[in-house]
C-alpha cells in the first residue's frame, strides 16, 4: 500500500508562488468527485507561503514556509464532522467528503493549522487533497510539487524507496520534523530545515577595530547543559553564526583569540539574535 506524503526542504523555497498557481489551475472550476469539489475563484489558499523574517540588523534571514493541510494521523478536523464526512484513507490522504461535509463550517475551525477553507457558495469546507484524483489515476505526484522549480516541495509514495520524497527523506531524514509540533496532532508532512533561532555576531580586536578577524575561536554552550557545546571559527569577514538552536534557551557565547583576553556573553534564544561585535582586548 502506498503511503503518500510531502517532504518540504524549506531552505530551497524562494517564495515564487508557482505551487499556489498550479493548485489554482488544477482545482478552480474543476470538480474531482469524490475527492474534491471545485475550488472557488478567490479566497482559498490550499497551499500558501508564510514569509518569515528573523534576526536583526546585518544578520537577517528571509525564509518561506509552504503551508497546507498536514494530513494528520489524528485528523482533528474530523471531530466536529458528521460520520464519514472527513476520513483518512489507507494511503494517508485526509479527505473532506464534498457531499457529506456540506454545511459543516466547524470543520474549518477544527483545523489547528488553519488549512481548511470555507466555500461560501457551495457551503463546503475544502482543502488540499494531495491531488488524490491524479494519484488515483496512476500519476505519481501533485500539481504543486510538479510546478516547484527549486525542488523545495517534494511529493511521493514514502513506502516506495525510489520515489523522490522517500529519497529525500532517506538523505535528510535525520533533520526532518513536523511543522508546529506543539499542536500535537501527528501531522504527516515532513519539513527539512524549518527556520530555527540562530545566534550570529562578529569578533573584533580592540586594537585593530577596522579589520575582519578570520579564525577566532567561538564556542557556544547551552547553559545548564555543559555537555552541549559547539565550536566554530570566524569566517572571512570576521563573522560567526550558530544555526538551528533550540527556542527559549540560555546560551553562553565565548570568543577567543591568541594574545587577547577571551570574552563571554549570555543570551536567550527567544528569537534569532544578532549579538553584534565581541571586542577582544589585547593581553
Amino acid at each position: 500500500m502506498a503511503k503518500y506524503g510531502f517532504v518540504i526542504d524549506v531552505e530551497k523555497c524562494t517564495g515564487c508562488h508557482s505551487c499556489f498557481l498550479a493548485c489554482k489551475d488544477e482545482f478552480i472550476g474543476n470538480d474531482y468527485l469524490p475527492t474534491a469539489a471545485a475550488q472557488p475563484d478567490k479566497g482559498h489558499t490550499w497551499i500558501k507561503l508564510n514569509e518569515v523574517e528573523h534576526g536583526a540588523g546585518t544578520k537577517l534571514k528571509v525564509d518561506y514556509i509552504p503551508h497546507m493541510c498536514q494530513h494528520c494521523e489524528d485528523t482533528p478536523c474530523a471531530a466536529p464532522a458528521p460520520a464519514g464526512a472527513v476520513y483518512r484513507r489507507a494511503d494517508g490522504i485526509v479527505i473532506i467528503d464534498p457531499e457529506k461535509a456540506k454545511g459543516c463550517k466547524s470543520i474549518v475551525n477544527a483545523c489547528p493549522y488553519r488549512a481548511v477553507y470555507w466555500n461560501e457558495a457551495a457551503q463546503l469546507p475544502q482543502k488540499c487533497t494531495m491531488c488524490a484524483h491524479m494519484l488515483d489515476n496512476g500519476e505519481k505526484t501533485t500539481r504543486c510539487a510538479e510546478a516547484c522549480p527549486t525542488g523545495a516541495l517534494v511529493f511521493g509514495d514514502l513506502a516506495d524507496e525510489t520515489s523522490p520524497a522517500a529519497k529525500l527523506l532517506a538523505q535528510k531524514g535525520a533533520k526532518a520534523e513536523v511543522f508546529k509540533p506543539e499542536l500535537g496532532v501527528a501531522a504527516t508532512t515532513r519539513y527539512i530545515s524549518l527556520p530555527k533561532p540562530f545566534i550570529a555576531g562578529e569578533v573584533l580586536l580592540a586594537d585593530k577595530p577596522g579589520e575582519c578577524l578570520k579564525g577566532a575561536k567561538v564556542t557556544l554552550t547551552a547553559k545548564d547543559e555543559a555537555a552541549c557545546q559547539v565550536e566554530t571559527k570566524t569566517d572571512f569577514f570576521g563573522d560567526f553564526e550558530f544555526k538551528n538552536l533550540a527556542v527559549n534557551k540560555n546560551y553562553v557565547v565565548k570568543a577567543e583569540y591568541e594574545g587577547y583576553y577571551a570574552k563571554e556573553m549570555t543570551v536567550r534564544t527567544y528569537a534569532s539574535l544578532n549579538i553584534g561585535a565581541l571586542m577582544l582586548e589585547p593581553r
Binding site: G15, S18, L21, D25, T58, Y64, F237
Partner: protein
C-alpha cells in the same frame, strides 16, 4: 486533464510578460489553451515555469482582454471606444500617419516600446520602414535599462558579457568544458522573480546547489541575501564607488590576473591611478558599508577563480550609469574572468541572428550603415550625446518628452505605442508625460488590455496576440528558437504581423521581400543556415555550434570576435580598454568615477532634511511583470496591494502600523501605499514597488485606474540622465518622506 494536442514553444513577452526564453508546453483542447507547463526537454528552463506562465489561461481568456481593433468615439479620456475591422484600423493609421509624414516629416512620429521583449524587433522595423529615427522607450528616465550596461561593455570589451551558467550548451552543467563559478556576485538584483535580460533566475539557484558562494549587493534583504556569504547593504546610487573601491583593493593587494592584464588589456596604469582615489575608507563613507566588508568582498571575489558577476537594472539607474557599468565590467576583466568557463562570458545573439537589434553592428547589418547614419540627423539626443549617436538607435527619453512639449527643434505629432504602459509603468514624472502625450494629434496603442495609457490617449487600439498565439523567433542569447502558435484568440495579431503589414504600406519596396512574417523570419535566420519550419521540425531550438562566434569560450584567443579575424577584442585597440578610447572620443571621462546622486544627504542636505528617506522603486514580484498582470485574479491574490516597505525603526516614531495606508511624498507629489513594516529594508530606505495601477477602479480621466494615488513615478523626476545620455534615471535615489494619512482629504481622495 483532457487535451487534443500539446504545442511546444518558447515564452517571450505577452503572457508571462518577461524577457523570456523558457521552453513551454501548451495543452490545447477545442482550440483553447487549457494548461501551460514547462518543457523538460528545453535547455533554457529544463521544465521549470513561473506563476505568470501557470496563469496563462486566465490571461489569454480574461474577460477584459481586447480581442478586436477599437477606435475612440468620445473625447479622449472618456473611455468610449467602438469596434472596427482590421482594415478600417490599418487604413486609418496609414492615412493619418501618412499625412503627418507628408506635412512634418517622419521624425514627427515616435515609436514607443517598453522593456526588452519581442517588440524591439518589430517596432524598430516599422519605425525605419516609415522613416522615423525616433524609436524610444518613452518615459524611461536616462534610458536606464540595460543600454547603459551594454554601452559600457561594448566600449570596454567590444562585446557583451553575462554570468556563465552553461546556458550556451545543450549539456548545461554537465558540459565537460564548463566550470562552476566559485563565487557569484549578485549586484542589484533579485534574479528569481524577474528573470531579466535573457537570464533565467533559477540558474543562480542551480549554481548555489552545486556549491557557488554568493556575495549580494542590495539595499534590501532578499532570499539570496539571506543565503550569501556576504551581504553588502549598500546606499542606493553608490554602486560606482563600491566598484572602484573593490578595484582599489584588488590592484593594491595584487589580486588581479597579471597574465591576462598584461596580454589582453590596455590602460591599467591609468585605472590604477584613478582607483587609488577610492580608498576603502572613503568608499565606506560614501556607501554606508563597513570598510572591512569592502576589503573582504574584494578578497573573496578576486581570490576565487572562476568567479562571476550578475548585475541588474539598478546599475543603469545609478547617477552616471554608463560609467558605473564600466567600473563593474572592469572587475571581471581585471580578474581574468572574461570569457572563461564559470566567469563572465561574452554573449552574442545566437548564430548571429538578429531578432531585436542590440548593437550598432546589428543595426548596420539589417538596415545599412548609410541609413543608420541618416537617421542620426534627426534622432532625438543624437546631436546632444555622442554615446547616444554612436551606440544603438534609441532616441533619448528625457529629451524626447521635453521636445513633445516644446516642439523644438521640430514638432512631435503622433505616437505609436506598442505594448508599453507609459503612464502606469516606466515614465518618470508621470504628470509631465501625461501632459506631453495629451498634446499628440494621433496616438495608436497596440496592447492586450486597457491600461492608464490607452485610456488617457489612445485614438486607435490594436489587439495583440500573446506568445501562445504567434509565430516568431528568438536569439537572445541562446539558443536560437522559434515561437509557435497554438491557438487564435479573437482577432488578435502578433506584433510582427501588425508591423509588417503597416511597414509594407509605408515602404512598398518591402512587398517584394516579405509576403508573410515567416518570410521575414526566414530571411533573418538565413545566417544560421536554417528556417522557421526547419527549426520547428527539429524540436524548436538549436544551440550555437562549438567553435563559432556565438559560443564560448576564450574566443579572443581564437580570433572569433573581431571582423578582421585576428585574436583580441572588437574594441578600437583590439584589447580590453580600462581607459576607454570610445568614451574619450565621445567626450566622456575614459575612466570610471563616482558621482553623488542628484538628490542625497550629501548633495542636497536641505532637501534631505525635509525628505529623509531614499525611495527605491522596482523590487520585483514573481507574480507581476512591471505594470502587467494586476487584473489576473490568481496572481493578484499573491501580491494584492500597492505597498511600501518601511523599517520598524522608521515606522515606530511615525506611529505607522503594519497594514495601514500611508502617504509618501516629496515636492513633486504624493501617493498612498499600504505599509509593510519589515526589517528587510535599510532604515534609511523605503522600497516602493513600481508598475502599480488598479484595473478594478475607474479608467476614465481623471482617475486613470488610480495612477495618481499609487504610481510611485508620480514622485520621480525627469532630466537626471548621465553625461553620456544613457543611465541616471532616479528610480532608486529619489528622496521622500512617509507620513500617516491625514483625516479628510487623504482618506476620501
Amino acid at each position: 486533464m483532457g487535451h487534443d494536442k500539446i504545442v511546444t514553444s518558447t515564452a517571450w513577452s505577452p503572457g508571462p510578460g518577461c524577457h523570456g526564453g523558457c521552453g513551454v508546453k501548451l495543452f490545447v483542447q477545442d482550440d483553447k489553451v487549457v494548461r501551460v507547463e514547462g518543457d523538460e526537454q528545453h535547455p533554457f528552463s529544463n521544465g521549470r515555469a513561473c506563476p505568470r506562465l501557470l496563469a496563462m489561461t486566465q490571461y489569454m481568456y480574461h474577460p477584459d482582454r481586447i480581442t478586436y481593433p477599437l477606435k475612440r468615439v468620445g473625447e479622449r479620456g472618456t473611455g468610449k471606444f467602438e469596434r472596427i475591422t482590421w482594415d478600417e484600423a490599418l487604413d486609418a493609421i496609414e492615412e493619418k500617419l501618412g499625412r503627418i509624414r507628408d506635412e512634418h516629416g517622419p521624425e514627427a512620429v515616435l515609436f514607443c516600446q517598453g522593456t526588452g521583449r519581442d517588440i524591439g524587433g518589430p517596432i524598430s522595423f516599422l519605425a525605419y520602414s516609415y522613416g522615423s529615427p525616433n524609436w524610444v522607450q518613452l518615459g524611461l528616465g536616462g534610458h536606464s535599462c540595460y543600454t547603459p550596461r551594454l554601452g559600457a561593455m561594448m566600449a570596454t570589451q567590444g562585446d557583451y558579457a553575462v554570468l556563465d551558467a552553461a546556458q550556451f550548451s545543450e549539456l548545461r552543467y554537465d558540459d565537460p568544458e564548463y566550470e562552476l563559478p566559485k563565487v557569484i556576485v549578485i549586484w542589484g538584483q533579485n534574479p528569481m522573480p524577474g528573470c531579466p535580460d535573457g537570464f533565467f533566475g533559477h540558474w543562480i539557484v542551480d549554481c548555489m546547489k552545486r556549491g557557488s558562494k554568493l556575495i549580494v549587493i542590495d539595499p534590501r534583504w532578499t532570499w539570496f541575501a539571506s543565503r550569501a556569504e556576504q551581504f553588502l547593504q549598500i546606499r542606493p546610487g553608490t554602486d560606482g564607488a563600491l566598484a572602484l573601491g573593490l578595484i582599489h583593493v584588488i590592484i593594491k593587494e595584487h589580486l588581479y590576473d597579471k597574465a591576462f592584464v598584461e596580454a589582453w588589456t590596455e590602460g591599467f596604469d591609468e585605472l590604477k591611478a584613478r582607483a587609488a582615489e577610492y580608498t576603502p575608507e572613503r568608499v565606506a563613507e560614501i556607501t554606508w558599508l563597513p570598510q572591512d566588508a569592502i576589503i573582504a568582498a574584494a578578497r573573496l571575489y578576486a581570490g576565487a577563480k572562476p568567479a562571476a558577476i550578475h548585475w541588474g537594472v539598478p546599475i543603469d539607474m545609478n547617477p552616471e550609469g554608463s560609467t558605473v557599468a564600466q567600473a563593474i565590467s572592469h572587475l571581471w576583466c581585471l580578474t581574468g574572468n572574461l570569457d572563461v568557463p564559470g566567469g563572465n562570458i561574452i554573449a552574442r545573439p545566437s548564430h548571429g541572428v538578429t531578432t531585436y537589434p542590440f548593437s550598432t553592428q546589428e543595426m548596420h547589418e539589417l538596415y545599412g550603415e548609410e541609413f543608420v547614419k541618416r537617421l542620426n540627423e534627426k534622432r532625438i539626443g543624437a546631436n546632444e550625446y555622442a554615446m547616444v549617436r554612436n551606440f544603438r538607435g534609441w532616441a533619448q527619453p528625457d529629451l524626447t518628452v521635453q521636445q513633445m512639449l516644446s516642439g523644438e527643434p521640430y514638432p512631435i505629432k503622433a505616437c505609436w505605442i506598442q505594448t508599453s504602459n507609459i503612464l502606469g509603468g516606466q515614465a518618470v514624472d508621470v504628470r509631465l508625460h501625461h501632459e506631453a502625450l495629451k498634446k499628440m494629434e494621433f496616438v495608436v496603442v497596440a496592447d492586450l488590455f486597457h491600461n492608464p495609457t490607452s485610456m488617457a490617449v489612445a485614438d486607435i487600439i490594436l489587439p495583440v496576440a500573446s506568445f501562445a498565439e504567434k509565430e516568431s523567433f528568438r536569439s537572445w542569447w541562446a539558443p536560437l528558437q522559434v515561437i509557435a502558435p497554438a491557438v487564435q484568440v479573437g482577432e488578435c495579431r502578433s506584433d510582427w504581423e501588425i508591423n509588417l503589414e503597416l511597414a509594407k504600406r509605408f515602404n512598398p519596396e518591402l512587398k517584394k521581400r516579405y509576403e508573410t512574417v515567416k518570410d521575414l523570419i526566414n530571411d533573418r535566420m538565413k545566417v544560421a543556415g536554417t528556417s522557421y519550419d526547419e527549426l520547428k521540425q527539429a524540436g524548436g531550438w538549436v544551440m550555437p555550434e562549438r567553435g563559432s562566434a556565438s559560443r564560448p569560450y576564450r574566443r579572443y584567443e581564437k580570433g572569433l570576435l573581431r571582423p578582421d579575424g585576428k585574436p583580441g577584442f572588437r574594441t578600437p585597440s583590439g584589447k580590453v580598454e580600462f581607459y576607454s578610447r570610445s568614451y574619450a572620443e565621445w567626450g566622456l571621462d575614459p575612466l570610471p568615477y563616482f558621482s553623488e546622486p542628484p538628490a542625497s544627504e550629501v548633495r542636497t542636505p536641505e532637501q534631505y532634511e525635509k525628505y529623509p528617506l531614499i525611495m527605491v522603486t522596482g523590487r520585483r514580484s514573481s507574480v507581476y511583470f512591471h505594470s502587467e498582470h494586476r487584473m489576473i485574479p490568481w496572481l493578484r491574490e499573491c501580491d494584492p496591494d500597492p505597498i511600501v516597505e518601511i523599517h520598524p525603526s522608521v515606522a515606530k516614531p511615525l506611529g505607522i502600523e503594519n497594514g495601514e495606508w500611508v502617504c509618501i511624498e516629496n515636492d513633486q507629489g504624493r501617493i498612498k501605499r499600504k505599509a509593510v513594516v519589515t526589517p528587510i529594508v535599510h532604515p534609511k530606505v523605503v522600497s516602493v514597488p513600481h508598475g502599480w495601477w488598479l484595473p478594478e477602479q475607474a479608467g476614465q480621466e481623471p482617475k486613470l485606474f488610480g495612477i495618481w494615488d499609487v504610481n510611485c513615478n508620480v514622485l520621480t523626476p525627469t532630466g537626471t540622465q548621465s553625461k553620456s545620455g544613457y543611465g541616471g534615471g532616479a528610480y532608486k535615489t529619489t528622496l521622500v518622506k512617509v507620513a500617516k494619512l491625514r483625516e479628510g482629504r487623504d482618506r476620501n481622495g
